[in-house]
């Protein structure tokens, strides 16, 4: 993994269109600002992964329940 050291107010570019700015730091918390085109979705990783996991579980709806509700 590439590691870059940046100071408050500085930023990095990811490709031509995505800019990540370090807004502030406090203890072990870092506040980041993200400038990205509208077609780039930005999520907290843990939220994103939980939603994907929940979608996967939603596809496993048991047939018995499905039948019961469908009829």
């Amino acid at each position: 993994m590439l590691a870059l050291t940046r100071k408050k107010g500085e930023s990095i570019m990811i490709g031509d269109n995505v800019e990540v700015v370090v807004i502030s730091t406090q203890g072990d918390q870092v506040k980041l600002g993200i400038l990205a085109p509208k077609n780039v979705s930005v999520h907290r990783k843990e939220v994103y992964e939980q939603i994907i996991q929940e979608n996967a579980e939603a596809m496993q709806n048991v047939s018995a329940s499905v039948d019961g509700i469908r009829k």
Binding site: K38, N55, A58, N61, V66
Partner: protein, 161 residues
């Protein structure tokens, strides 16, 4: 078009009912074409929110790219008066924006074997623009649960009638 589905057998979908999810569903970026199925296929097939008598309706979002993929959907806007998902306008550009009278909002439900564990995802509802026939799963700004357990709520609703 005809498609063989795991949950509903072989079904016929009118081309005009196809809903495109340009970005797929989260975790399924390749599944882009879906159709809304009512539990009863009749009339014009509009998957309406909830029955006027207060019964809660579940409808289904069937993938037309993969017959094994379908989601149970519920309309939590109609069930939870305090549910007010907030979305950035620009998130909706790929589906043609949000026009209240032309939009459907659904929450994906998980219906496990133990029905008491039944839940809906309030954090990432599906928005469907019925005019452009495009939809998207949106991660809303509100701090809503991904797993919102609804068995007790549905029991209460049933008790109301």
């Amino acid at each position: 078009m005809r498609i063989n589905t795991k949950n509903f057998g072989e079904i016929e979908i009118d081309e005009s009912k196809i809903i495109e999810f340009p970005e797929g569903i989260l975790g399924l970026p390749d599944k882009k074409r879906f159709a809304l199925l009512n539990k009863v296929q009749e009339g014009d097939g509009d998957a309406d929110a909830n029955e006027p008598d207060g019964r809660v309706t579940i409808c289904w979002l069937q993938s037309l790219d993969d017959g094994t993929v379908s989601f149970a959907l519920m309309n939590m806007l109609a069930l939870l008066p305090d549910y007010n998902p907030e979305v950035d306008d620009e998130e909706l550009e790929t589906i043609g924006g949000f026009v209240p009278e032309e939009s459907l909002v659904y929450n994906i439900a998980v219906i496990p074997e133990n029905i008491k564990e039944m839940r809906v995802n309030l954090k990432a509802p599906l928005l469907i623009n019925t005019e452009t026939k495009r939809g998207k799963q949106i991660v809303v700004n509100n701090d809503y649960p991904i797993k919102f357990y609804i068995f007790d709520l549905l029991q209460d609703k049933a008790g109301d009638n």
